[in-house]
Assembly symmetry: C2
Homo-oligomer: 366 residues x 2
């Protein structure tokens, strides 16, 4: 009973503090469907939800302060449930869903993003550095859906190919290529939808921060294993698709530079695990390797690979940043060109990976 | 009271007939999210739904027999609501949503499609002729997202550009272009997502039924007016975007044939209304005009336009097919090359428009 009282008073104090400091400058989230006023975010990073369910008894939003069970919405007289997160959310993009009388649905106000092996709701919390992934008045490249033949899986498979703005102008120029993988539960749509990889590229090219290159994003077949059994994942099937099918198709259908020095592979989370396995198993294919919240390379991994041009390891500050820093220190000692990056104030989420791409891109294809 | 009894007995007989003839060969719909077992469809076109909402009192699916209020699902002991449509649905694609205790949500089992000015659930009912829009082992073209500058609306705007499989091979060849518009409530994603325009093109090209051409799909700005006030729609803003901004951008960034004889415009429903207005107001831009469930041209409309190469008018059999047939008869009498098409067993839905594209494509750019 004492414990309960402490718990309740703790909640009370927390709510009081939040209420005192909460700024009422809420605006519709950037991730809303056209014309939708909710969900909203304020300048402090709080999110506010409003769900119409007049005959429901309970509505809960999965998004809330770290480790909690989300945000319980309160029923209003007008048939809507409303509520605000108890505190500010981390900067950047978050997946979420809502539970209505025990059933899990998407927020009808938000756009949907493929994560957790389903199309989920997503919400964008403003960040101080959001300019680098904003939709701006600069020349824009294309994101092209290709359906490439995959004899090994007996179907055609989908990939998205970012080509820079200059690609359709000077039709003789050839470009380096970055193969960029999503994480577990996501698919080939993630890097351009929630990752905004195309806008990051457009903006950096417009500012002269990088030389233009092509980015290829395909499904890493990560979801074929359950989350709890990722150690059972076998790389061979995806490796065949990528190395034997996708890369030759891209090289045949886009104006690419096809030598190893002009080919990079990067992946986030489980896509990093894939990147590590595939780059090490295929030393003649890629010269630039990047793991975004996706593990590390040891110096011994690279002992017999003298022509690796770049190792890039990143992490959110709320993950395990020391691990990537230590790994990079060791790689440097072994004479490898290695760079680490830690995204401030973010965890295992897309804001970390957007920033990682921004840091990685200028280092590639030197 | 008598009326009520008659009504109830009518429902009873209808349910009896359905129950007797219902085939238990249900399979997950082609429009389901990866790995989702529900909704399902059977070989007769019935749809079956299963929604998890253990504490809800009522779950209803908007999809049902024409004119009805949808399909009411029954609560089971395991926390799921289940139910089957009272009869077979029309062939092809349908938008739908579910109502959970009074709130409107999407079915977590289905993919989402932009219709009714929101991302809605969609379900595919098998059709006898589905081969022509199936995902097959043929060479596939690309669907490229472009973000083109639009000074008139002070932003960059999105379009999708289908390029045929040969486009990336012979890089000197130039292609005719079809500008293809969605209907009210939809957007530039509709023709490739629910319309499967890219697969229709891939399949027809592979079978040698058409010469390859480019298809451009952009947002027709139709949703800026409410459905009930469509007569207040002003074409000028979209006309400027299309004629002054998108077409020059496409001609500058893709290998197009830029003469009028190699440019067509088509649109479905409200996109047909736009097509009619824009083609007639811009006689030097397009030579091929097509309205899919989107009205008709009168002979007088074309009196001073001798170099119109084709008028194509279509409709579902459950719409107003006589109107397009009569209009085509009149156009023919006036010496215009006009063709009508009526899609069997379909209404104002995408199956009509997929078939219309199949019928239109071989007639273009002759």
């Amino acid at each position: 009973m004492t414990k309960l009282i402490i718990l309740l008073s703790g909640l009370f104090i927390s709510n009081m503090l939040s209420a005192q400091s909460l700024k009422e400058d809420f605006k519709p989230a950037a991730t809303n469907q056209p014309g939708q006023l909710f969900p909203q975010v304020n300048s402090q990073g709080y999110a506010r939800f409003k769900i119409h369910a007049p005959k429901a008894d309970s509505v809960r939003v999965s998004l809330g302060l770290g480790g909690g069970s989300g945000t319980v919405l309160q029923k209003q007289n007008d048939g809507f449930f409303t509520g605000t997160t108890e505190g500010p959310m981390d900067e950047g993009f978050h997946y979420y869903n809502i539970t209505v009388d025990g059933g899990k649905f998407n927020d009808p106000g938000s756009m949907n993003y493929y994560g957790s092996v389903r199309w989920e709701s997503g919400i964008e919390i403003p960040a101080p550095d959001e300019d680098f992934y904003s939709f701006k008045d600069v020349p824009h490249g294309q994101v092209s859906q290709i359906l490439f033949p995959s004899p090994s899986t007996n179907t055609s498979r989908r990939a998205f190919v970012y080509t820079p703005p200059s690609y359709s102008k000077d039709t003789n120029k050839r470009y380096p290529v970055l193969y960029l993988q999503h994480g577990w539960g996501e698919d080939e749509t993630a890097w351009s939808n929630q990752g905004k990889a195309n806008l990051i590229m457009d903006n950096m090219i417009a500012e002269g921060k990088i030389k233009p290159f092509i980015v290829v994003m395909t499904y890493g077949m990560t979801n074929e294993v359950k989350w709890g059994r990722i150690n059972e994942f076998k790389i061979e099937e995806f490796e065949t698709v990528l190395i034997k099918e996708l890369i030759p198709y891209v090289d045949a259908n886009f104006r690419t530079l096809t030598d190893k020095a002009n080919r990079a592979m990067a992946g986030l989370s489980m896509g990093g695990m894939e990147t590590k396995m595939i780059t090490l198993r295929n030393p003649k294919v890629f010269a630039h390797y990047a793991l975004l919240s996706g593990g590390t390379y040891a110096a011994s991994d690279l002992a017999h690979k003298p022509d690796v041009k770049l190792i890039f390891l990143s992490s959110g500050s709320k993950e395990n940043p020391d691990k990537v820093k230590q790994a990079v220190d060791e790689l440097k000692k072994a004479g490898v060109y290695a760079v680490s990056y830690v995204s401030p104030n973010t965890g295992h989420e897309f804001q970390t990976w957007r920033r990682s791409l921004r840091e990685l891109a200028p280092l590639l294809f030197k």
